[in-house]
């Protein structure tokens, strides 16, 4: 890839990561699910478990159908603190590209705001993404959310 192609790829991936996070802020879960490839997986990993070599997660969706189930339960059954989310996303760093799949890291903060208009920092963490780029379209093959703020205030209902 020449410099221009590489910049184009960085831009495409950064916009895709931002778009996937902002879909959650709009509670547009269909669009968020569409950001995942059919073989995509999604895991929210507490940083203490990563540090100690444990696989246990807070959300562990090993297949896309299981990820769809997580969203169905959220829509139909879960009860949680009503709030607005805002993802604050860093620029994405493309670490490498192999066989059409980019390895990408992005830092994030999520600010939660109550329906009475009070904002608090909810969590800090990083996306560790594997993103397949095909025909100019990006899709998540894997998103590991490394959660620094693993002592979760109240509950974690909406994915990060």
């Amino acid at each position: 890839m020449n410099m221009k192609d590489s910049q184009g790829m960085d831009t495409l991936i950064s916009r895709f990561v931002l778009d996937s996070a902002m879909a959650l802020d709009r509670e547009d879960f269909d669009h968020w699910l569409d950001c995942f490839a059919d073989d995509g997986r999604y895991v929210v990993m507490p940083r203490e478990n990563r540090a100690q070599g444990y696989d246990l997660a807070l959300m562990y969706c090993d297949t896309k159908p299981v990820l769809q189930d997580r969203i169905s339960v959220l829509r139909h059954a879960s009860k949680f603190n009503p709030h607005y989310d805002r993802h604050i996303i860093s620029a994405s760093l493309v670490r490498g590209m192999e066989a059409g799949i980019a390895t990408v890291e992005t830092n994030f903060l999520v600010v939660q705001t109550t329906l009475t208009g009070v904002s608090n920092l909810f969590c800090a963490g990083g996306y560790e993404d594997r993103i397949r780029v095909q025909d100019g379209k990006a899709r998540l093959v894997e998103r590991i959310v490394l959660l620094d703020s693993f002592s979760v205030p109240n509950c974690l209902a909406i994915p990060l």
């Binding site: 299981v66 059954a77 879960s78 979760v152 109240n154 509950c155």
Partner: protein
């Protein structure tokens, strides 16, 4: 600051009214640290499987006290308060690790794995000046030790010489059910944590609240993991300080359950479905076939079996209005890879993002907020009947909550004369 509630403030002698003041009184909270957490009880510190090798240690809390539990060079489990005997600094600063000894960073006082003081820099002074007085006895300045006892791989600690031997403290009901969950060597799968802005006793009530399990937690009701229409119950030890809620999934049909809930105005519309039912699938592991049991071991620990999800939860109060809950999920050492994956998949149901547990944090925060302005009034606990505190074989009850308050009141000097026990 004096406590704003006394024994006479219980409106009823059977604890069927719970004064909201109990969730908010700061002086009461301070007395709880002394009478409950430093009282004649055994608190769960952790699990032996967390610290398998000599020198392995972890931090935990007993009430508000930071406590270290560690395996010493001889393989014995020790526990001590994480506060330097010199100026009170935290000695251990990392949540887990392996050490040969512990050195406080402030003045480099050094302690053995057992918590004994073994080094005081410049104890004899420098250049012939200063130093500790000759009367300073290094043996008198160790870290504050807890009594430790290990039962079935569970490490218990106590600040009190008055706690009964652990077998008697647990009683036959806890020995039976916790014992069964720990009847094979376990392996740790990892941790989940959450902080809830509510009084710690609200979580004890929630854990003993059989009634809410399928009303608040719709996932339970939808997929038949816990329903009021099933064979189930809530039992307590003889002193009502520990409890178990248990459940047999499959003992009702979806049809009869849905009819019963619709008749009670809970849900009459369509029930959702899943793509993948592995999460809601129980591979039977215990001879009784119990599908779910939620166990409370007074004062700080809870054990659960929810299908094949196994965990020990510890509660850490953070002032009267907040607590942290630490979930230690485990499997068995001889689990094959498929069972380990199944347990990790079923961990989706528990913890702060749990499909059947995320609601509890929100429910308790709502209670904490809305009871604050009217601490002179009480909540109602009458499901399952009033009067005697007893075991019931149904989940349409809250009697186990009254049992908690009966034992708590005895420890706290808040028992009204002639009260139910």
């Amino acid at each position: 600051m004096s406590i704003s509630i006394g024994a006479q403030d219980w409106p009823h002698k059977d604890y069927s009214r719970v004064p909201f003041r109990l969730y908010h009184d700061e002086a009461l909270y301070q007395r709880e640290q002394k009478n409950v957490f430093r009282g004649p009880v055994w608190s769960v510190l952790g699990l032996e499987a967390e610290i398998p090798k000599p020198g392995d240690y972890r931090l935990t809390h007993v009430g508000e006290e930071s406590v270290v539990y560690v395996r010493d060079a001889q393989g014995e489990i020790r526990a001590f308060v994480n506060r330097c005997a010199h100026r009170g600094a935290e000695v251990v600063r990392f949540p887990a690790g392996n050490a040969e000894d512990f050195t406080c960073i402030y003045h480099a006082w050094n302690y053995s794995l057992a918590g004994d003081l073994q080094g005081v820099p410049f104890r004899r002074g420098a250049n012939g000046k200063g130093g500790m007085p000759a009367s300073f006895d290094i043996k008198q300045h160790g870290l504050l030790k807890l009594r430790v006892t290990v039962w079935n791989g569970v490490i218990f600690g106590s600040f009190s010489g008055d706690a009964e031997p652990i077998e008697a403290y647990l009683g036959p009901l806890m020995r039976d059910h916790v014992g069964e969950l720990l009847s094979r060597p376990i392996k740790i799968l990892g941790y989940q944590r959450q902080r809830v802005k509510a009084n710690w006793k609200l979580y004890h009530e929630n854990i003993r609240d059989a009634y809410h399990g399928s009303l608040l937690h719709e996932f339970n009701r939808t997929f038949g993991m816990s329903r009021l229409t099933q064979v189930a119950g809530g039992h307590m030890d003889s002193q009502h300080r520990h409890s178990i809620l248990f459940q047999y999934a499959g003992s009702d049909s979806d049809e009869e359950a849905r009819k019963a809930y619709a008749e009670n105005g809970v849900q009459s519309g369509n029930y959702m479905t899943l793509n993948d039912y592995a999460m809601a699938t129980h591979t039977k592991e215990n001879p009784r076939g119990i599908s779910t049991r939620i166990i409370s071991v007074f004062p700080n620990a809870f054990f659960h079996q929810i299908y094949n999800s196994l965990a020990m939860r510890k509660i850490r109060p953070l002032g009267h209005g907040e607590f942290e809950l630490v979930w230690t999920l485990f499997g068995y050492a001889d689990d094959d890879e498929a069972m380990t994956r199944h347990r990790i998949n079923q961990a989706n149901m528990v913890g702060p993002a749990g499909l059947i547990s995320m609601e509890d944090g929100e429910a308790l925060e709502m209670v904490q907020r809305s009871t604050a302005p009217r601490q002179d009034i009480s909540g109602v606990v009458e499901m399952g009947g009033v009067g005697a505190i007893r075991d019931l074989d149904t989940r349409a009850q809250e009697v186990t909550i009254r049992g908690f308050w009966a034992y708590y009141s005895r420890l706290m000097g808040l028992e009204r004369e002639g009260a139910e026990r």
